[in-house]
């Protein structure tokens, strides 16, 4: 509560003025009366004579005057004192924070006011310092809050799982990726024990164990590959490999006050690395096999081990066929790589699929006859029209030969292969030409069928049936979908056979005329 010292001062002054005026008037009245009685004018007022006449009269008059002066001085002094006290009060309460208590003629109070002034001045400095510190602290708090928000945003947005626990293994913070990885709600999991969130069962305790070991080891940061079982899909639990870095946090007294774990999922990298490794081994085997034949037969010829002309011819023929096989393989690898990198030159022209199929069938015929496989070519539903599709002839030939040779490869002796072509007229979308190759081969298990067009993928159960690099079908997909804007398809029944095929958009009149 603040007092209005101006009002108080005014009231005080008014009362003093009234009082002083009263005293002066009274004094003058007494003085005048004394003078009047002494001068003999006031005859008849004898009852006052002993007091107001003669020497006593002057004494009384003097006393009155001195009293009046004293009262005036006292009033002035009082006023001054009240003013000083008011201004001290004003400074203390802060309503007059700048001005100092003025020096007056009151020596008694000047010392006090000087002391108070000094104390208040030092208080003012201290308060100013405190205010500055508070302001600094407020700025610091704002900065820290901003930094925390930034850090939170970074942690929540990164793909790696981040988990922070306190010294009692209770969760302090976890980001969305961590919640997803260990299957808990990261928003509501705070302060819950970590082994409750990541249940210690046979699969998942590797992480919690590592966390505790790292804390006990007292090392600042430790790194390890750990495995966890992802049970999000109940029927299809998948093992995940994580690169886990655990950092221990210490307080000023070097006591552990928490642990930060960052988990980077390297399952895919591992798979890719394994795939590459398998591919290198596979390609190495595939390249070396024809090369081994070429080397061995050449050496035999050179050493004169082929006695007659017929044997020599047979050796030359093997060398030639194995060299072609080697070349085909190298071309497959290069083509896959070129298409993927977009470096391949595409020469599109109007081509007839029916004619291309006939050409490729001639090439595959001897291979099929070797295995006693019958090739069925039903009566074409479409007439052989030049320029059915606008495509790169060599590439589409490659697609057809890959599908046909795969069909022969995975069909047992005595089986058959049917190749069909048809035109599909779509009212809603573009008209397409469809080619399908159906075999009576070993078939593909249902869970593997979606992967058959993947690069380097080979159906596990069929690896024994035939050799391959896992590139042929991937090349088919790349050529049809990436280069020609078409679509590949597959259907299969294990032990019964498979149908592989592709659709290409029919060449329109516009395209044909431009070509």
């Amino acid at each position: 509560m603040r007092y209005d010292f101006g009002v108080v001062d005014l009231k005080l002054r008014r009362n003093l003025y009234v009082m002083i005026t009263g005293i002066v008037v009274c004094s003058l009245f007494v003085g005048g009366l004394t003078f009047w009685l002494n001068s003999g004018i006031g005859v008849g007022w004898h009852f006052a004579t002993p007091v107001f006449t003669g020497a006593w009269g002057y004494v009384v008059l003097m006393c009155c005057v001195v009293g009046a002066v004293g009262v005036v001085w006292l009033g002035w002094y009082w006023l001054k004192l009240a003013g000083t006290i008011a201004s001290i009060a004003q400074r203390i309460t802060g309503s007059n924070s700048v001005g100092r208590i003025g020096k007056g003629k009151l020596s008694a109070i000047n010392g006090l006011s000087e002391l108070i002034n000094e104390q208040l001045d030092s208080n003012a400095d201290y308060i100013a310092e405190l205010e500055k510190q508070i302001k600094d602290s407020q700025i610091q708090i704002q900065l820290t809050q901003r930094q925390k928000r930034n850090t939170d945003a970074i942690i929540y947005s990164i793909r790696d799982a981040v988990i922070v626990v306190d010294e009692f293994d209770r969760l302090l913070m976890a980001n969305e990726a961590a919640g997803r990885l260990f299957n808990f709600n990261f928003k509501t999991a705070q302060h819950r024990p970590i082994d409750e969130l990541i249940p210690i069962d046979a699969d998942k305790n590797e992480f919690v164990d590592f966390l505790r070991q790292s804390r006990q080891s007292k090392s600042r940061a430790t790194k390890r590959e750990i495995k966890i079982v992802d049970r999000k899909e109940k029927l299809n639990a998948k093992e995940r490999i994580l690169d886990c870095i655990i950092s221990c946090v210490y307080d000023e007294s070097k006591q552990n006050c928490g642990v930060v774990a960052v988990l980077h999922d390297i399952t895919h990298e591992k798979e890719v690395s394994q795939m590459k490794n398998d591919f290198v081994n596979h390609v190495s085997h595939e390249l070396k096999t024809p090369l081994a034949s070429i080397t061995a037969y050449s050496e035999m010829l050179f050493d004169g081990e082929a006695d007659d002309e017929q044997t020599r011819k047979e050796f030359y023929s093997v060398i030639q066929s194995q060299a072609k096989r080697l070349n085909r393989l190298i071309e497959d690898i290069l083509n896959t790589s070129r298409i993927e990198s977009g470096l391949i030159k595409v020469g599109k022209k109007p081509v007839s699929l029916a004619i291309l199929i006939e050409e490729q069938l001639q090439m595959i015929k001897s291979y099929a006859e070797e295995k006693d496989i019958k090739i069925i070519r039903p009566e074409c539903k479409d007439v052989i029209v030049f320029g059915q599709v606008y495509a790169d002839k060599d590439m589409i030939s490659q697609v057809i030969v890959n599908l046909l040779s795969n069909a022969v490869k995975y069909t047992r002796s005595g089986g058959s292969i049917k190749i069909e072509t048809e035109i599909c007229l779509n009212h809603e979308s573009q008209d397409v030409a469809r080619v399908s190759v159906t075999d009576t081969g070993v078939g593909i298990p249902e869970n593997e069928i979606e992967h058959v067009f993947d690069k380097f993928y080979r159906v596990e159960a069929n690896k024994a049936q035939a050799k391959g690099t896992g590139l042929g079908l991937n090349l088919v997909k790349q050529i049809v979908e990436k280069v020609h804007n078409g679509r590949v398809f597959v259907s299969s029944e294990l032990g019964v056979g498979s149908t592989f095929g592709f659709e290409l958009p029919l060449a329109t009149q516009d395209v044909m005329s431009k070509a």
């Binding site: 190495s284 085997h285 096999t289 081994a292 061995a296 035999m300």
Partner: protein, 137 residues
Amino acid sequence: MSERKVLVVDDEIHIVHVVAIKLRNNGFEVISAENGAEAFERACEEKPDIIVTDFQMPVMTGLELVEKLRRNEATKNIPVIMLTARGFAIEDEQKKALQISEFLSKPFSPKELLRSIEDILYHEKIKNQNAEVEVTH
């Protein structure tokens, strides 16, 4: 002296053919198989003096074949030469445990293969003679 018998196992028919010609030209009897399973049956029936097998084959690989041979009393001591087109060979311990006499990587020289076969058979002969002498004494 009876003809020495070699079992050549490879799913690549051209390799089997060329090895067979080289060995026959040098006085060996050659029998062949296309995969490990077939090779095991032929080894049990024919008791070859040595087996030359490919590493990677359908149905049963070369390694599986050797493992099976070593478990069988009749075939456990037959020396084996393994041909491999793989970018890596197996560990030394495994090679020793399976008693694989030699690894030859593809492409290989038929001459070199012949030399290896003769060396191994010569050492086997010496070993057997020593064993016989020990038994007689």
